[in-house]
Symmetry: C2
Subunit: 121 residues, 2 copies
DNA sequence: GTATTATACATAGCAGTGTTAGGTAGGTCA
DNA sequence: TGACCTACCTAACACTGCTATGTATAATAC
């Protein structure tokens, strides 16, 4: 069911940056957006997201600003920086490289399987 | 240039298992196969691969056997187990879930960009 | 009025894992 | 003799997600 830890680690930065590239957002809303984008198949915990946001801020990929919403509740809004957009593009390129490699490996398997069982064995 | 650490971590298990599902292999050859499958874009170090192989063995996903080749050199061949094949299928499913989510996020961005710059601005 | 849930942020300690660097050893070729 | 490739292994380090916990306010339910 759940997505394993390494995959979460690999996807958290590009996914958060991509969500912020859509527009400024804050922690809680980002969690919901991830659930939405994944069709409910990815469920991030807030305990893992906030450290990610802090790291992105420390690296200069995002900037944070406190805001008070109508209902009096305070939110920390994050905005992607120019540097963050460059990082997003780089992350995306790397992901696609690895994805192409994995697909190649899986393809090699199915080709092999077909060769071993010719004509609907 | 290089692929970042988290992506390596996320892809190492499914990639090694997929390579072994093609047929038994050993450390050095696996490194070459990764380079080949990625078109030279992924370069694993042996220092990261051997711990991965040992972990997969500890988890019961692969079995190892020493062999002596014609030239007298010894190699440790790895074979994927039934449990390893199940893990490979699960890893593949998870990867595709995350990949679909990321592609959705990128797609949302390009749609947004087109809306902001209509008719070739 | 009070308990529960949802919103909203944050941190501490634990465990897993890639990186860097180094070590062992045999074969090939100039 | 030296350089390079093959072939395996490990240790110390740094990073980071996970789990658990804490704080606080608003909305909802009882």
């Amino acid at each position: 069911m759940g997505i394993n830890k390494d995959l979460i680690a690999a996807s958290s930065t590009p996914l958060v940056l991509a969500i912020l590239a859509e527009g400024d957002s804050y922690g809680y809303a980002i969690l919901q957006r991830v659930r939405e984008l994944s069709g409910g198949r990815m469920e991030w915990t807030d305990g893992m997201l906030y450290p990610v946001l802090h790291r992105l801020e420390r690296l200069g990929y995002v900037e944070a600003k406190w805001k008070v919403v109508e209902n009096g509740r305070r939110r920390k809004y994050y905005r992607i920086t120019r540097k963050g957009r460059a990082q997003l593009a780089e992350n995306r390129r790397q992901w696609q490289t690895v994805d192409a490699t994995l697909r190649g490996a899986w393809e090699a398997l199915s080709v092999k399987r077909q060769a071993a069982e010719p004509a609907g064995a």
